[in-house]
């Protein structure tokens, strides 16, 4: 039987594991925590699909067109076509495994409007779409655990991939129970570790997503793509804890953005873009909020308490609980915040990275969203990419032999031991915080050469320190050994942003405000003797 290791047990990791198991492939599903703790449970708004009996005028072709347009025409057409055509099957699968979609009186799943889409096609499960999907998938995974086809490895973190001559043979994992590195061989390794949140400290998402796996694989030779495209969600609520997402559903249901001028409300999005202005794509809304230079509010109070209770209960609860705001009475003060990473591991249509038998799926892979992601498309992509990778793996012949990696294991064990052998006076957590400050300062919504160069200088300094610091013995070893991978992907991100001398989608340059038609290609970046080599994918290598 073929063996696959899947790292990460959010929606993408579980969908891949289930599809592999359906085809008789054995899966080791690795994550530090159970799936209930993954970022996927946080997705509230919904998942896009064009189902039979769509809204009048809608079609799969218009889902494709909206996605490509929203992406600043950087997403590959073939990939997006596959995604949108596969959406109906994905929803059917989710229903079959027991996902509880919200339904209308006649029992049909309900849909809502989401930003940048020509029609209503975002299906949802009350206020907790991601959670409902996770709950259903967890049960389905359990079914295959019982059949011996999926084996969960909890309290285990990715360390590095076992790579020889451009092909992957498994992974080194850090087992938090035994406090040891373990080496695990497989026919294929699938990375499903989510976005690079930790580069920015706290984002709207989970603190578990840190970008380490992608950063480490980059250092091991994997090509990364489109790192400069980082989605700032336009409407988040500032709390002492973090910036919390005010779902796009609030604007989908009619919410209006405004700022105050001499006591008068200025509905700046509607003034500039007409009645649909509030539901422009996220890159556009964030940019416009930033341009106002004012405190911006989102008003849903005019919907009335009943409609709010019915359709926006999570927004109501969040605002009440964390800020004491009654949204049926008062507008919500909103600020843009880092929310989603369009960039990540570069993958081909079959979700294989630049390294043979190493796959990437879900948010850590860069494929369907180009320069800006449409709301509701990432849950779809997480599920779809898991299926695509699984099908490719099942169709391939298994490996016949594995090289000897015992030397790699010994070397990494020694490095870990050295790091952990002394008390730290300069804890690694502190570097993480400084990194977040650097990224927020220099990779905000609007960027410039001067600022990006300054950011790079700072990261180079942290990297030089990271090589020398001792580990902080009071945090998990993972926090310590992950720092170099995280700093390296941060550095590559700034390099990509610097190289893209134009404004497109979520990448806005004050010194290059125009879109350059000559740059309508994905950015690729590879690790080159400690530095980065950045180029444009003019041959569309990662769209085939």
């Amino acid at each position: 039987m073929k063996d696959v290791i899947v790292i990460g047990s959010g929606i993408a990791g579980m969908s891949c594991a289930v599809r592999c198991a359906q085809m008789g492939v054995h899966v080791t599903l690795v994550s530090p925590f159970p799936s209930e703790r993954s970022q996927s449970v946080m997705a509230a708004g919904g998942i896009n699909a064009v189902l039979p009996e769509p809204e009048e005028g809608d079609s799969i072709a218009s889902h494709i067109a909206d996605t490509l347009k929203g992406s600043g025409y950087l997403a590959g057409e073939k990939a997006v076509t596959g995604l949108c055509e596969g959406a109906g099957g994905i929803i059917a699968f989710l229903e079959r495994i027991g996902t509880v979609f919200s339904r209308d009186a006649s029992g049909r799943p309900m849909r809502r409007a989401f930003g940048g889409q020509s029609h209503k096609r975002t299906y949802y499960c009350g206020a907790s779409t991601g959670k409902q999907i996770v709950s259903a998938l967890v049960m389905e995974v359990r079914r295959f655990e019982a059949a011996g086809l999926i084996e969960r490895k909890l309290r285990c973190c990715f360390h590095s991939a076992l790579i020889r001559d451009g092909a992957c043979y498994g992974a080194l994992l850090f087992d938090e129970t035994s406090w040891q590195l373990i080496s695990l061989c497989a026919d294929a390794l699938v990375i499903a570790t989510g976005g690079q949140n930790a580069l920015f400290g706290k984002t709207t998402g989970s603190t578990q997503c840190d970008g380490y796996a992608a950063g480490r694989l980059f250092m091991q030779g994997a090509v990364l793509k489109n790192l400069e495209f980082i989605q700032y969600h336009p409407t988040t609520l500032e709390t002492p804890q973090k910036k919390m997402l005010v779902s796009e559903a609030a604007r989908g249901e009619g919410g209006r953005l405004f700022y105050l001028e001499n006591g008068r409300r200025v509905y700046f999005m509607e003034d500039k873009f007409g009645p649909g202005g509030n539901l422009m794509t996220r890159d556009v809304v964030s940019r416009e909020i930033c341009r106002t230079g004012k405190e911006v509010f989102l008003d849903v109070s005019f919907l009335g308490r009943k409609a709010i209770d019915e359709r926006l209960p999570e927004v109501r609860d969040l605002c009440a609980r964390y800020r004491g705001i009654d949204i049926a009475k008062d507008p919500i003060p909103v600020v843009p915040s880092v929310h989603f990473f369009m960039g990540g591991l570069a993958v081909h249509l079959n979700h294989e990275t630049s390294i043979r038998d190493l796959f990437a799926i879900g948010e850590c892979a860069s494929m369907y969203h180009g320069a800006n992601r449409l709301g509701g498309n990432s849950l779809l992509a997480a599920l779809y990419s898991g299926f695509v990778a699984a099908e490719e793996i099942a169709a391939r012949p298994g490996k016949e032999s594995w090289p000897d990696f015992s030397g790699d294991l010994k070397r990494e064990e020694a490095a870990l031991k050295l790091g952990m052998s002394s008390e730290s006076s300069f804890p690694v957590m502190y570097i993480r915080d400084m990194l977040a400050e650097t990224m927020r300062d220099h990779l905000g919504i609007v960027r410039s050469e001067e600022s990006l160069a300054k950011g790079l200088e700072e990261i180079d300094y942290y990297l030089s320190v990271a090589e020398r610091i001792r580990y902080d013995s009071s945090v998990l070893p993972y926090f310590n050994y992950s720092i170099t991978g995280i700093l390296t992907i941060a550095r590559a991100t700034l390099q990509c942003a610097r190289a893209r001398t134009e404004s497109r989608g979520a990448h806005i340059r004050s010194d290059y405000p125009e879109t350059d038609p000559g740059r309508q290609f994905a950015t690729l970046v590879s690790f080159d003797q400690g530095g980065c080599r950045v180029w444009l994918d003019k041959e569309h290598i990662y769209e085939s």
Binding site: E36, R37, V100, M139, M244
Partner: protein
């Protein structure tokens, strides 16, 4: 404000109390307080003695992933949605969940929740609902975080060896509602690991962060 925390360095070591001073914002949550104490080059307790960073678990920081379950001033709760200003008394006392083995400080090993569901085959298999489905209750039951708060507070739950508690009962309901051919099999394990021993104190419902009406799942399962 004093923050008293029950600490433990390793699974096998002895627990001990440590007291910290908190002078951060009042509108912070307990998760924010722990972050605040941890964010220093050197951490010291209230007497100025150097100590180690406090271990605790988080992910979403907004009450929807169940990571940060702990006991705050005697009540099992999620740290990220328990606010300092709402706590009674002038000090805060935090300890790990007591019904699960401690891994470090406030981090506990709650894997028995999933293991029990595994052992008893709580999965749907083929989707074959019987008649009209109750989407609303299914939706609510499927929101269970598997955080363990209901087990911590339950007078019948000891260590999950025989009695599996409310988190188990709700998942039993979901399976039997979605696959009627499994209802009988589920009924048996439900009786053995919940139904026969639940004394209906319903304290589980008081602490559930998702407000799951477990009693409704129980009523439906008992009807079968």
């Amino acid at each position: 404000m004093k923050v008293k925390i029950l600490r433990q360095q390793f699974p096998s070591s002895e627990p001990y109390w440590e007291i910290f001073e908190y002078d951060g914002p009042e509108n912070n949550s307990v998760a924010g307080v722990l972050d605040y104490i941890n964010y220093h080059d050197d951490i010291a307790d209230i007497t100025g003695r150097k100590t180690t960073r406090i271990g605790w678990e988080c992910s979403c920081l907004q009450g929807i992933c169940g990571s940060c379950a702990m006991v705050i001033n005697g009540r099992p709760a999620l740290a990220c949605e328990t606010f300092v200003k709402d706590l009674k008394g002038k000090d805060i006392e935090i300890r790990p969940l007591q019904k699960f083995p401690v891994i470090k400080d406030l981090i506990t090993d709650r894997s028995s929740i999933q293991e029990n569901l595994m052992k008893t085959n709580i999965y749907i298999g083929e989707y074959q609902p019987s008649g009209e489905e109750e989407h609303l209750h299914q939706y609510t039951a499927a929101k269970c975080l598997k955080c363990g708060l209901c087990l911590e507070v339950c007078p019948n739950y000891v260590d999950g060896r025989t009695f599996y508690g409310a988190a188990f009962a709700n998942d039993c309901y979901l399976v039997s509602a979605r696959n009627h051919t499994k209802a009988k099999e589920i009924g048996k394990v439900y009786d053995a690991h919940f139904g026969n021993a639940c004394s209906k104190s319903l304290s589980c419902m008081d602490v559930c962060p998702m407000n799951i009406p477990t009693i409704a799942s129980v009523a439906r399962l008992n009807r079968k």
